[in-house]
Amino acid sequence: MRSPFAYVPRSGPLQAAGPAAAVAYLGSLTAVAFLYSNPVVLLAAGVALTLAGRLAGAWSAVRAALWMGLTLALLIVAVNVVVVSRGETVLVRLGHLPVLSDVITAEAAAAGAVIGLRAAVAMIAFAVYSACVDPDRVLRALRPLAHRSALTATLVSRLVPVAAADSARLRDAARLRGPGAAPVGRAPLSRRLLAGSLDRAVDVAATLELRGYSLDRGRVRQRGGRSRYDGRFYAAGAVVLLAAIAGKLTGADAFAEYPAIEIGAGPATLALAVLLILSGLAPRTRPTRSASSSPSIRTRT
């Protein structure tokens, strides 16, 4: 069973774009999540990333990230409300408890929700990146800059799925042991997996050696592999970042948790939110124009 976050080669603008362009685009939306605390803007960034993932065909990765991100967000809210006692709107009085807060306030819940939302947005961005950006192209881009780090990253990126497959096989074998055989606890299984991983690492390293990885010529920076979609994603990322900075200067991030919740929803905030959501359309594939609509090849009947 493959991880929902595993890269799947597909033909789409985001997959075709260079890693730098994809990182610029996804990174700009993630940066907004860390620059802003206004929940309207955070939600808009989340919607934009979800839309981008959906349009790029990475729905299963986005769905898994949403599930994990929202679970994490709920956990953060739950922790925040029991440890923070600030806020004017008391929802529940717990009485005196050591370490923990004696009241649950709406403001503490809102503050937790903002942190959770930020984490969820970052997770969706990572999911879209992981499912849509080819790791081989990332490593190729890294290689001239940091050869050894790229080698380590190559080994790890290959060994993670191999170790996952080994682990699944070992677990299957453990289930297939007869009731008269010694049961396999976690310690022997982990030891066996570790030993197997080391063997695997040696095999993969040997393959890299045979492919000529140790040659200096592989370090030469090489041009090529540019995509016609690069400009689109660089532009989308730049627009998002510029709008975010402008919004920050014009008060689009108006939000206060304490002492009482105040969410700014002025024109600047709403405009930024709309722009962010529209940026989620960047991975959209343009519909192909049919030949019959082209005047240059119209035939006479």
Binding site: M1, R2, A6, Y7, V8, P9, S11, D134, P135, D136, R137, R140, T154, L155, S157, R158, P161, V162, A165, R169, L170, D172, A173, A174, R175, L176, R177, G178, P179, G180, A181, A182, V184, P188, L189, R191, R192, R200, D203, V204, A205, A206, T207, L208, E209, L210, R211, G212, Y213, S214, L215, R217, G218, V220, Q222, R223, G224, G225
Partner: protein
């Protein structure tokens, strides 16, 4: 006027007095090996398991000693480059290497990137890389895989991708270590002929280590046989067969064995060769007229699948269902969305039956076994097991997690399981010190332990691809083990690509295709009725029901119009009933 370039005169591989010992090893893995491979040769490297074949190939690509360490003496040159002084990276342009396990031979995420990597490391321009990738993909018939992620490929596809990565730099020498061990007969035959084509059209020197010699001998120019780390034979394929007949019968091909039984010379290097010789021996007509199936079965030699099944004590076993699969549907996601792997499978196994489960890569064999063992939940259908199932998956090492056999199998139940597989003497041994065959038997004992009532086995014992990397002698031992399990009342179901092994142990063959049973019948019928899922003897004789050398020799000896010069020597006859592999 003769024009001879330097590349034509320099040997593709020259080894002189090579002796090598792995770090800490008591004895050398290679002992005074000298060998020369000329450009454009296709050489098969034969020998039993652990005789030094893989080490020799690793020395030829520079992994020995640069990667593995150890002590080395002698000289190795690849296309004029000193391989002992130069690392494998520098040799990569001159030599391509394909190891047994394709899973650890891919290092990239997508197929295109994997094939492109060696060129990138060499510093080729993007345009020349793109052309080379396209050409090698076309040569290996894998352009449709270029955009796929490597972890969504089947074993056979992965093997082709690894071969493409080894060939993309257009090396002068290609080394292959049992490349067909994970392939079905169709893909295995295709790969061998692809290598022959690359050899003929590109002039690539091929050095191919292989256990299934019947598959590749016809394509070979020369055979090098190894024994205990040394070269035991080096010569033409026909001479090799004559040598194997005297020196190591486990290296004989089935067709050569058939000829040996009948004292026919020369020994055949392939199906076509054998047919031509036999037609020449007949009194006109084709071999098809030698005898009919009914004539054959009415004679004194009965094929094993028609024998009455007997228990160890001699009494017939009760025949009742050990397993029933009804309308079995299994859905799996291998990275490209859910797909039906089993589509309404129907199967019944009787107790004491020996069944080979065959089919091409991806037909659903392993999925069926895992569903039977409860590792995969079917989406529809029913599996009924009369007395449980013990399944040995493809990697026996996955079952071995402790440092002492007795710790894996404690108590009386553990000892009973060890007795069944004949390993009761190895209680104190470290599983890693056991031979490959013994490790496999130990893993089977682990799967059986506690599932037996006394010495009575589970209803079904299933083995998934148990002969990968095994030589013929070890396969013979496995046949004996399977017959032992079957005589104790277990239905033994073995998923295998090895048609010769299936002919040796099975009385029934179930052939899968795209998740459904496409043929189910006596082994001799199924294995003699096709092009790919047929033994070498079946392809030579084309007689219904004749699949093993012993059956072939018996059929020909009964034939009135076949003029063979000798008779079947009782000493040489090793019938399947006696566990001949």
């Amino acid at each position: 006027m003769q024009i001879e370039t330097e590349t034509q005169t320099t040997p593709a591989l020259a080894i002189e007095g090579l002796t090598y010992a792995y770090p800490g090893a008591a004895s050398p893995a290679l002992d005074d090996v000298s060998l020369r491979l000329d450009p454009g040769e296709l050489v098969v490297l034969a020998g039993r398991s652990a005789c030094g074949k893989s080490t020799l190939l690793r020395a030829a690509c520079g992994l020995v000693p640069h990667f593995h360490g150890g002590e080395v003496e002698g000289r190795v040159e690849v296309a004029g480059i000193d391989a002992l002084a130069t690392g494998p990276g520098e040799l990569a342009a001159a030599v391509g290497y394909l190891a047994q396990d394709p899973e650890t031979q891919v290092v990239s995420t997508t197929v295109a990137a994997e094939i492109e990597l060696p060129l990138e490391m060499r510093g080729d321009s993007p345009s020349s890389r793109a052309r080379a990738v396209e050409e090698v993909a076309l040569a290996l018939a894998i352009p449709h895989l270029l955009s796929r992620a490597v972890d969504t490929l089947s074993g056979g596809e992965l093997q082709r991708v690894a071969l493409a990565a080894a060939l993309v730099t257009r090396p002068r020498l290609v080394l292959l270590d049992e490349p067909t061990s994970q392939l079905d007969p169709v893909a295995g035959d295709e790969l061998i002929w692809l290598l022959r084509r690359l050899n003929e059209e590109w002039g690539v020197t091929i050095f191919l280590a292989e256990h299934r010699l019947e598959r590749c001998l016809a394509a070979a120019d020369r055979v090098v046989a190894m024994g205990s780390g040394a070269i035991a034979f080096d010569g033409a394929p026909r001479d090799f067969l004559a040598w194997a007949q005297q020196a190591d019968i486990a290296l004989e091909t089935p067709a050569a064995r058939l000829f040996s039984f009948l004292d026919i010379a020369p020994l055949p290097v392939g199906v076509r060769d054998a047919r031509q010789t036999l037609v020449g021996k007949g009194e006109g007509g084709t071999l098809r007229t030698a005898c009919t199936f009914s004539e054959f079965t009415s004679g004194r030699q009965q094929p094993p699948q028609h024998r009455k099944k007997l228990s160890e004590g001699g009494a017939p076993l009760p025949s009742h269902d050990a397993l029933t699969c009804r309308d079995l549907w299994v859905e799996l996601d291998a990275g490209e969305g859910l797909r039906d792997v089993l589509k309404g499978m129907e199967l019944v196994l009787n107790r004491g039956e020996r069944v080979a489960l065959m089919g091409r890569n991806g037909a659903g064999k392993s999925t069926l076994l895992k569903s039977m063992a409860g590792l995969i939940e079917p989406v529809r259908g029913k599996i009924e097991l009369a007395n449980g199932i013990a399944l040995l998956t493809q990697n026996p090492s996955d079952y071995l997690v402790r440092e002492r056999v007795g710790d894996e199998l404690p108590g009386e139940e553990g000892m009973a399981a060890l007795r069944v597989v004949g390993l009761e003497h190895a209680v104190e041994a470290d599983p890693r010190d056991l031979s490959g065959g013994e490790r496999q038997r130990l893993a089977l004992a682990i799967a059986l332990a506690g599932r037996m009532e006394g010495d009575a086995l589970p209803g079904v014992v299933a083995l998934d691809e148990p002969t990968r990397g095994m030589d013929r002698a070890r396969k013979g031992e496995l046949v004996e083990l399977i017959e032992g399990l079957s005589s104790r009342g277990a239905a033994v179901l073995v998923a295998t690509h090895d048609v010769e092994f299936a002919a040796a142990f099975a009385e029934r063959v179930v052939l899968l295709g795209e998740g459904v049973v496409i043929a189910d019948g006596p082994a001799a019928e199924v294995l003699s009725g096709g092009w790919y899922f047929a033994t070498e003897v079946a392809r030579v004789l084309d007689l219904p029901g004749v699949v093993t050398p012993e059956q072939g020799a018996a059929a020909l000896s009964q034939s009135a119009d076949f003029a063979f010069s000798g008779a079947i020597s009782p000493k040489k006859t090793n019938s399947p009933e006696e566990g001949g592999g």
